[in-house]
Each structure stands twice: as C-alpha cells, then as structure tokens.
C-alpha cells in the first residue's frame, strides 16, 4: 500500500487546471496495472482450480466449491475492518488526511467482501443445511458486522465540514473492530450449543487439490482486495483534493471580488 500518489496540487494556485498537470487523470499506475493483471490471472487460476481440477467433496458435493471464494472473502472482510480501525487510530494520532482516506477505503472494500461472504454463504447453506439462513454464530455476527459497516459509511457520506466529519468517523472507525469482537464473542456464546464453527468442519477433510484451490482462492481474492484498496484509497484522496480545490477556488473568487487587495491572506490556511 503506497501513499505516494500525492497529486501535485499546489495549494496556492487558485485555478484548478482541468485534466493533466494538477491532478492525475486516473487512479491507475504501473504498479496497480501489474497488480490488476496478477489479480485477473489468479482469478482465472481460481476458476480453473475451483471449478475444474479440484474434486467434489464427499459430503458437500459440488457446493464445496463455493468455499474457495467464501472463506477467503470472509478473511479479507476482517482485514478491511482492521485497516479501518488502524487507520482511524492513526488519524486520531497524526490528523493527516491520508489516514482518513485509508479508513474509508478499508470500510468500503470490507463491505463489498461482506456481501460476497453473505451471498456465497447462504448459497452454500441451502444445499448443506437445507436453508439459506440459519441463526448460526458466524452468520449472525457477519450480518451485524455488515450493518455496522453500512452505518459507518452512512456517517461518512454525510455532507459535513471535513474537519468535523473526520473526527466523528475516526471515533466510529476506531470502535469498529472492538464492536466486531464483542458481537462475535457474545453471539458465539449465545449459539455455542447450536453448532461448532463451520471452518473446523471443513478442515479435516481438506487436502490435495482442494487445499490448493482454497490457497489459490486466498491468493486471488487477496490480490483483488489489494487492487480495490489501492484504487479506492486513491479515489478518496482525489476527492479530498477536489474539495480543497473547490475551497481554494471560492476563496480566490472572493478575493477577486474585493476591490482592494488588502484582504488578509490568513483565510487561505483553512485549518478546519
């Protein structure tokens, strides 16, 4: 994860040069293109391993193939949450906009992976458990986590003064992982009689090509996760820059309106 995209924004220039020059025209770079190609290639490999090479499971038959997507996406869902909480903590400490952008990227990508997790999970549950949904500990806590992420992003999306919003979303983001842990513990405790963890049911039977397929799944979705994170981070960063441009432009207009050039320049600091 590189934070080196810093567009050469020249905070003093009032005119946002359209297109080339001031801000990059897109969020891609050489590194992300290589990352994207790798992600595509490993996804193709996952399709090959998951759907063709690996054998059907003895108990779960072909539905086991969903696990090669489900388990990795659940894992990266939690990785995304950790990114958000870590970045929120760092923002509260350093107060630099990059951490805010990273927290946003983590939560959004985590939400995508939570939908993948819930979707593949319920498709898998139908043939295996005979129902799309059951009040299993993992399902329930993943559902609550999804709502937590939606709430977090809802607060982010509000049209607020950037400084005030950053403080609020940072506190909310900081609480994300503790909330997830408390919800997971309590729900697991509640459902402990119900059934053991889903993973441990698969683990003993996994070997050979199935294990390889799962590993390929981790690799492919990991690369997809990284690619999404980098791009989402850059989009968030550019959004922040755009906000700043708007402010600079408005300030410049105001200054141009004033007849005398004696306007104090300290308004341009914009320390929110």
């Amino acid at each position: 994860m590189t934070a080196t995209t810093s567009p050469r924004t020249a905070a003093g220039t009032p005119q946002p040069a359209d297109g080339a020059g001031a801000v990059p025209a897109h969020t891609g770079s050489r590194t992300t293109r290589i990352l994207g190609v790798l992600a595509l290639a490993s996804s193709a490999l996952l399709v090959l391993y998951g759907l063709v090479i690996s054998p059907p499971d003895v108990e779960m038959a072909d539905s086991v193939r969903l696990m090669y997507v489900h388990v990795p996406s659940a894992t990266y869902l939690y990785v995304g949450c950790f990114f958000t909480t870590f970045a929120s903590a760092m923002w509260l400490w350093k107060r630099t906009p990059g951490w805010d952008a990273l927290a946003e990227a983590g939560a959004e990508v985590a939400l995508v992976f939570s939908f993948i997790t819930l979707g593949t999970g319920s498709l898998w549950g139908r043939p295996t458990w005979g129902t799309y949904w059951t009040w299993d500990a993992r399902l329930t806590s993943t559902a609550v986590l999804t709502v937590l992420l939606i709430g977090y992003l809802a607060l982010r999306r509000l049209d607020l003064d950037p400084g005030a919003r950053s403080a609020r979303v940072a506190v909310l983001g900081l609480l994300l992982v503790p909330n997830v842990i408390v919800v997971n513990r309590s729900v697991e405790w509640w459902r402990s009689l119900h059934q053991g963890s889903t993973l441990s049911r698969i683990d003993p039977t996994i070997e050979g090509d199935m294990l390889v397929a799962l590993m390929v799944g981790f690799l492919a979705l990991g690369l997809v996760f990284a690619w999404l994170m980098v791009h989402r981070f850059r989009v968030a960063w550019l959004e922040q820059q755009a906000d700043r441009f708007d402010l600079d432009e408005a300030l410049a207009l105001r200054r141009a309106e004033a007849t005398t050039p004696t306007t104090p320049t300290d308004t341009a600091k914009g320390t929110a």
């Binding site: 509260l92 609550v144 709502v147 937590l148 939606i150 709430g151 977090y152 809802a154 607060l155 509000l158 607020l160 400084g163 005030a164 950053s166 403080a167 609020r168 940072a170 506190v171 909310l172 900081l174 609480l175 503790p178 909330n179 408390v182 919800v183 513990r185 309590s186 729900v187 405790w189 509640w190």
Partner: protein
C-alpha cells in the same frame, strides 16, 4: 471529573424534570410498545410469557433511543455545546454526567416497564438479585454507548435516522445478554444468567472508557 459529572447530570435531569418529556412521552410510548407486542403476538399467554424477556429489552432499547435523542438534543440548542466547550468542564466529566442522567431515566423507565410486564404479560418475578444486577449493568451499557453515539451524530440533520442505524447493531450484545440473563432469572436458573451479567458489565466498562476518552475529540470537532 466527578464533580463535573454531577453538575452535568444535575442539569440534564433538572431540564428533564421541568419539561417532563420522559414522563409524559417516553414512558407512555414504552407501555404502548408493550401493548403493540400483545397485538402482534396473539395474547394467548404462552407466547407472550415465553418471549417476555426479549420483548422487555427490545422495548427498553426503543425507548432508550428516544431518551438518548432527547439527551443529545439538549446540547444542540442555544449554543449549549459552545458553552460546554468554554466552561472548562472536563470532557470525560461531561460524558459521565450525560450518561448518568440517561441511566437514571432508563432505570425509572425499566421499573415502570417491569410493572407493565407483570400486569400485562403475567410475568412472575423471580431471582430478584439477578434481575436488579442485570438492569443496572445493561442500563449502564446502553447509557454509555448511547451517549457516545449520540455525540457522534449530534448536530446532524439526519441524526434521528442515523442514531438507530449506528447504535442498534452495537447494542446487539446488550440485548442478547440482558435477555438471556432475564430468561435465566425468570426460568429459575440464575446460575446461567450471571455470566451474561459479566458480559454486560464488561461492555459498560469498555464503552465508559471509550466514551470518556473520545468525548473531548467529539466536542471539539463539531
């Protein structure tokens, strides 16, 4: 800090006592929810009796949302927030005071609801010690968490809709723990309920610490 907390709690409760919103609106609303549950679940006593602990705590949560929105709204009018910032009161004290005031209101509400549940749902109180400890720890958990999240959304135009969305998933473990503890108490097996009380207490401590630490940031950043 505790002196500041007492000051803020005293102010909130005095405003509440004078406006009587909790007494005249939140309390009746809670009783209304109890009646609506009876409509929804068929007043054949068995269903209601079995579901009493869950219904009780869902009602408390819904009513708590109203009380918390009130508590947050108190600081939004007449520049109260700026006054608080300038008053040199410790942010942790302000947080504790607001949480204490909400907790006091909720405890009163829970007593009323308890009586309502006994009369309307035919619940037989048992395991009083466990019930009381559960109420106190769950109330502390709701009040601290709610005060913190109330500050997160205060001043926003969409706060009425956003607060439930943010707060209810976070309070899911409280609902779970309080309901299980009540079930254990009413079911005559209090030993099963005490671990849930532990969970509630741990939750309350976690959010008291988080709220006391974060309230300053939220107060200054709004």
């Amino acid at each position: 800090m505790w002196r500041d907390a007492a000051l803020v709690a005293g102010r909130d409760l005095r405003v509440e006592a004078r406006s009587r919103v909790t007494l005249q609106q939140v309390g009746p609303f809670a009783l209304l929810v109890l009646i609506l549950f009876a409509f929804a679940l068929d007043p054949a006593r068995q269903t209601l009796e079995r579901a009493t602990p869950g219904l009780y705590w869902v009602t408390v949560l819904f009513s708590a949302l109203l009380a918390l929105a009130r508590s947050a709204a108190l600081d939004e009018t007449d520049g109260v927030r700026d006054a608080l910032r300038l008053s040199a009161l410790e942010p942790a004290g302000v947080f504790a005071g607001k949480a204490l005031a909400v907790a006091a209101e909720l405890l009163a509400l829970e007593v009323v609801l308890g009586i309502g549940v006994i009369i309307l749902y035919g619940a037989e109180p048992a395991g009083i010690g466990l019930l009381v400890v559960t109420c106190v720890s769950a109330t502390a958990a709701i009040a601290t968490t709610g005060t913190l999240y109330g500050a997160l959304v205060s001043g926003l135009r969409v706060r009425e809709t956003l607060l439930p969305l943010l707060l209810l998933p976070v309070l899911a473990p409280v609902l779970l723990g309080a309901t299980r503890a009540f079930e254990a108490a009413l079911g005559g097996a209090p030993a099963d309920g005490w671990p849930w009380c532990g969970l509630l207490a741990a939750f309350a401590v976690l959010y008291s610490v988080a709220g006391a630490a974060a309230y300053g940031t939220l107060l200054e950043g709004s």
